[in-house]
Symmetry: D2
Subunit: 292 residues, 4 copies
């Protein structure tokens, strides 16, 4: 069992920290809003009043933050994780951020004797609660081995995919595919509805064949019912598509489908739907077809 | 058990007819090339020398033909199925064709006392052999009920989705989603490879989360290995995207993603790759990125 | 001077017929709605009560009809132009229709001793009134020569572009470029407005450089003022994009930009804006950006 | 007449500086490669050995640099323009760079008593030589007035479009439209050629109507002849499309057409054609259609 410092106890981080406690780790948690720290204490964790307190004495530090600037501030910043973490500690950053920022965190960590993994997750709140997240890990092989006991407490599919930043790259590819699959499902549903087909039956048979997907399973009922409570918010997927596009550009890549999907996601945020579940991308296709 | 006339004993129709024999039906088969009829006889079926002979005395007639013009000729034509089928027979057309042609077949059948279902299938040669196809059926409820024993011998997911033509509409939606998912997988793979990530590991973790899909499961190894023996040929998927686009146009729909994917499929045929598996859509994305 | 029969005296055909009268030709006109025939008579033309009367004794027959089915009925139909035109007459079809229909008209004309040119026009109502249309002509070289005196009365740029159907092909390319230029101008305007730039000044400088175009000149004021009285209606441009797409498909072509523009045009019709000027494509881009 | 310091004497900057000399200004020029400075001296200018020397005593300073990082280094850097320019001087930055960098230059300039305009140009080498560039100027009204005599010596259309950064925003919109028009022209040409139409005649008639554009006039012969010596290089247009996309993203905009065009431009660079004229975007469309 390990001494774990956990920073970022939101929708995803909260249940992850709870699962670590349940697995027998000693988890000291910090979050900007005190209520979430109290919640962790109720679940058996320990409260920290700031970042320094959270990482003091930690063997493993997990960060789960919203975006690249948050990581730059809370991990790399003056009073941040790297400034206070004990030498030899392992930092596992589960935030979904730009690969180049992950690489910088790894470099600055190495300079201070802190080992770093980027380990973004997929699966959303339900799998965070169940401890069955998919986790894509970038960093050194030996650090991945060392992270095993901790990551197994929160994930079901934990895969080492390459060096520092590789986890973020795979997560970006994941978000590209997910957004695209949502967009295609939306077009298929509008197509079925416009032709007067029984859409529930139609999508059921699609789900049983080569058109089947996790997106179809998880999102078709939301789309048919126009019920878009999040889940994973469009504004976060918009942030992620920004990472996809800048990572593609940095590598000199042309991704025509991903790029078109990204425009539809951007439009959803522009239309004021950034707070809805990403399946509300359906609304863009419906609106283009006069059903908005 | 039923007297079944089966017309079109190709890659898909051949194993479907064999499964009907195995289920105890008496199957009389016809195909333009005699060798395929002989094959059916070896498997326990009965040979027919022409369409008229195949449908004589049949309770159920199944047609599995390549494209709309084939159905127009062999079903609606002068010496075709409707001209020779016994009154009261049930015609199940498993071809993937334009919905408006299916509706015309249903109307002309009704005028001659022949009941008609459109019942295109999904799942490819492996599921045709296993008798586990997904089948999307358009037509009258009572005809669907009557078709049950026969369709259960060839399919695992057999769903009634609406009136005449609805099966084709759902199949079109299916092909839209499948082509799109292939295109997105291709972009994700090019993205991972360009960033030097372990693509096999990366796609494995995608498969375990919300990016997972039947396409990813069935096609990622082909793409990674650049091994594109068909399977389902790009030229057939191109035909199907033509159906998608004309059905969208007829209904006054805008489908931006489907339409862009259709252009990439068209390009694959223009590039002379129509005979490859549809996963070779990967080549278009690779080529755009100088890896062609 | 020639005896000219003119069928189709609408927004475009009306002023074209008037210009032929003004140039000294004897023009006998027919239109379904009698008021437009009366108008031509006021301008010095001759009234015809039906197609047969319009073409009787004509050396040159001009048709200006909305769509392919209209040409099929009024030119090829039982009581149509080819049934009544004098042998040796020259039919100039100025309608914008499918190239394959134009080729069929040419063939059926040839079989009855009628020479045929397809001669769709570009420039809209203002250039129809001024007699300065661009005219793209398909057919035999000698027939083009013979049409000279007549077409020069209505067009400023009259170009022979190839055999029967070639005029339609060039018109389709024209509509592809025009729709695309409108869409790009719309994106540029939304871009400028969102950044708080003086859009009038910005577009003025664009017009002076490599971004300059006839579309920019003709449409930017309409877009900036959101004043979309037609002009050329979106529903007609939608029809034309259908021709573009089916001609591309018939030739096995991939046109990703044209295809995406076609989806935006289709969406405009689906949104109920088919009666607005095609510059109202702006509304689709604005709407995607929450300014709809 | 003014004392002008000119930094960046490349394909564009060289002839611009020469035109300033010809108009009677005293021009002191600096360029990293000495040969270009010698050229200016032959034309009547004065040589500077470094940035400091070029700006010493200048009333007006013009910079014409390749990209944002160059401006950051040569204008904002330690030994750069702002460090050495006399108080009260007017800096006109003609580089095409990110709007946010232009805004930063204006702010840092203001802090040191240097007035700044962003003034990117359009028209390419021929118009640089003729002194008939289109120039889009961002900054204060009074500074624009003061720049008049200098900018009139190099441009024919010189327009004030808004505050600092607005010139870059308009230039970005310009590049979006130009790239899109090139892509559409390429699709039209492939379309005409595939249908066996006389492409030269076809494009001539397009040029006379609503499809006419500066791009069509300047680029159609290059495309028809597959002769792609630059002109404006694809790699520079790729850089510019990066500015378009990041400026769109910063403003929360969805630009589906611009984004798709950007992918085709990116593909051209990925394919190793970054050194060709931007009209070589034609090759992407041709290649998609098996004519590559």
């Amino acid at each position: 069992m390990s001494e774990v410092g956990f920073i970022g106890l939101g929708i995803m981080g909260g249940p992850m920290a709870a699962n670590l406690v349940a697995a027998g780790h000693r988890v000291t948690g910090y979050n900007r809003s005190r209520g979430k720290v109290d919640r962790l204490v109720e679940q058996g964790g320990v409260a920290a009043g700031d970042v320094a307190e959270a990482v003091r004495g930690a063997e493993v530090i997990i960060t789960m933050l919203p975006d690249s600037p948050d990581v730059e501030q809370i991990v790399l910043g003056e009073d941040g994780v790297l400034a206070h973490a004990p030498e030899g500690a392992l930092l596992i950053d589960c935030s979904t951020i730009r690969p180049d920022v992950s690489r910088r965190v790894a470099e600055e960590g190495a300079a201070r004797g802190i080992r770093v993994l980027d380990a973004p997750v997929s699966g959303g709140e339900p799998k965070a609660i169940d401890g069955t997240l998919s986790i894509m890990v970038g960093g050194a092989e030996e650090d991945f081995a060392r992270a095993g006991a901790v990551l197994d407490a929160v994930g079901a599919t934990v895969v080492h995919v390459g060096p520092a930043g590789a986890g973020q790259t795979v997560k970006a590819a994941n978000q590209l595919v997910v957004a695209g699959n949502i967009g295609l499902l939306a077009e298929a549903l509008v197509f079925l509805e416009a032709h007067g087909v029984d859409a529930e039956a139609g999508l059921r048979v699609l789900g049983g064949g080569l058109a089947g997907s996790a997106v179809l399973g998880a999102k078709e009922a939301k789309m048919r019912g126009r019920e878009f409570a999040p889940g994973f918010r469009l504004e976060l997927h918009h942030k992620d598509m920004g990472i996809v596009q800048s990572a593609a550009r940095d590598a000199g890549l042309s991704i025509p489908l991903g790029s078109l999907v990204a425009q539809l996601v951007a439009a959803s945020v522009a239309r004021g739907e950034g707070g809805l579940d990403h399946s509300a991308l359906y609304n863009r296709i419906a609106e283009l077809n006069g059903k908005g």
